[in-house]
Symmetry: C2
Subunit: 306 residues, 2 copies
């Protein structure tokens, strides 16, 4: 039994109104696996890096109990690199540099020891690579979560739709839900998307929280209002990792557990943005996480006598 | 004991992607008083109209138990008129016509029978008129709620700040909170605004719900995701009216009751947008309102074992 997370492991250079970083370790699989590791101890990653990725960088995963057998290291090649600059509102950013490098021909390898996969998180990558991973698992996982973005809708909508047929949960933002469905109303968009394959749809709305749609049920999760957002990079991936990590821990897939999983994912994402890159989510204590969860409980609780 | 609502009573002509109306009755005090009337039976309005306002229009208030003694009818003059057109996303609109008419020199008259006012809702008007109403009440109400908008921040910020010193609750949207405080983070904005007079701040975020700030506490209220928003006109005023109407009914001002009041206000606002103008909130049953409240409870409830 394990949770496999596939996605980018990369270097990022980030500039925000609060400062800038040199190349630091980032990537969807990095954030998601670190987040998941707080709730589940059999997290395994599938990703590719170049030989510029240091042993100490890999150690950081292993120290969180994350299995890196599926992390390919390509000699003589360079890791995926992204550089971006956030605007003052922290809600929009410019991409300054994107170097695909090893990602350009990423062929995901699933080690034999990964075939016990019960939970699969398909981080944002081409829908074809995402589908390949599903096909290379001998037994279909109990739960497949897919994250994607507008970029793939722009250039590979048909492939994305093929892959969507195979997954249980889709996580996208509100604009992407509108693009994927052709509906402006998120209720109508969700209704359409839930006919495309996923049984659960999570619409991420950043500082406005998230919506979960399943059959005719809706859950609205709050976001924790923060005095300072230091660096939003990786918040969505941290959310997804915390989400599936919590579900792997509880082991039962139903609407109530999904709701809680969204709260756990949101709590970890709220930590992520407090420092640059992975700095904050590398070093959380269980007490900090538990206290943050209680903040979410207090934030949205109200009692109305029927 | 009564709830006084001051604001515009007006004619609107509205165009949305779903259709358009001729002149229909609108205005902040109209929406707010109708909404409040579902929870409290001593609602009194202070407003001004011209002689184009029909007796049947006034009857509609009275049929909801709303006292119109403070509604001045100016012979030979015309009512305030606003005409607007909503864009396809329904989140933005163009104002086509604004005719102030009787509103240009509105001098609010407080009938002697209104001096029992315990709850005061100051709908969006010039901050000077809002302050005049407070001054003309012989006894300070138990609760004063003020709604305003960016327009007054642009042209009368000093007057607005003077009036703010006198109120208990301020309701504005997120952009207005940023403008009033000069802070982008809503947490920081709220902290600053809570030093300006109001003890409670409600930040309205439309389809993303609302935030309530009080001392160091925050409540995040969801908005009901709707398949169809037919006409957003008056939703904010309906929210405010439902909010203060609920508080007038329960009679005790504290954070918990404020949270519930936001849910009641949000529930009425969710009805408001389902039809043009006041059509929907003119004709709600108690059962419909109770069922909608339960939808809000279900929408945001989750249970996490500590």
């Amino acid at each position: 039994m394990s949770l496999i997370i596939i996605g980018t492991v990369a270097f990022d250079a980030i500039e925000t109104p609060f400062g800038k970083t040199d190349k630091i370790v980032g990537g969807a699989a990095t954030y998601a696996s670190l987040a998941a590791s707080y709730f589940y101890n059999k997290v395994k990653i599938v990703a590719v890096v170049g030989d510029d990725f240091q042993k100490s960088d890999i150690d950081a995963f292993n120290e969180h109990g994350i299995d890196t057998e599926g992390l390919q290291v390509k000699e003589g090649e360079k890791s995926f690199f992204w550089s971006g600059k956030y605007h003052n509102d922290m809600n929009s950013r410019d991409t300054l540099v994107t170097e695909l490098n090893v990602l350009a021909d990423f062929d995901p390898v699933i080690p034999e020891s990964y075939q016990d996969c019960e939970y699969l998180m398909l981080g944002n990558l081409t829908p074809i690579v995402q589908r390949t991973v599903i096909e290379r698992l001998k037994k279909r996982p109990k739960l497949i979560v897919l994250d994607t973005m507008n970029f793939w809708m722009d250039i590979m909508m048909d492939d994305l739709k093929e892959t969507l047929k195979l997954v249980d949960v889709l996580t996208i933002n509100d604009e992407e839900a509108r693009q994927l469905s052709g509906e402006y109303s998120l209720v109508k968009a969700a209704k359409k998307i839930l006919t495309m394959g996923p049984k659960y749809l999570i619409i991420k709305k950043g500082e406005h929280g998230a919506l979960l749609f399943h059959e005719d049920k809706i859950f609205s999760a709050p976001a924790l209002p923060l005095a300072e957002v230091f660096d939003p990079t990786g918040a969505g991936d941290t959310f997804a990792g915390g989400f599936i990590g919590y579900l792997a821990k509880v082991g039962t897939i139903n609407f109530n557990n999904m709701k809680n999983a969204i709260i756990y994912g949101s709590a970890l994402a709220s930590f992520c943005v407090e420092k640059f890159g992975t700095e904050k989510i590398l070093n959380l204590t269980d007490e900090e996480v538990a206290a943050r969860i209680q903040e979410f409980v207090k934030l949205s609780a109200f009692t109305i006598d029927a």
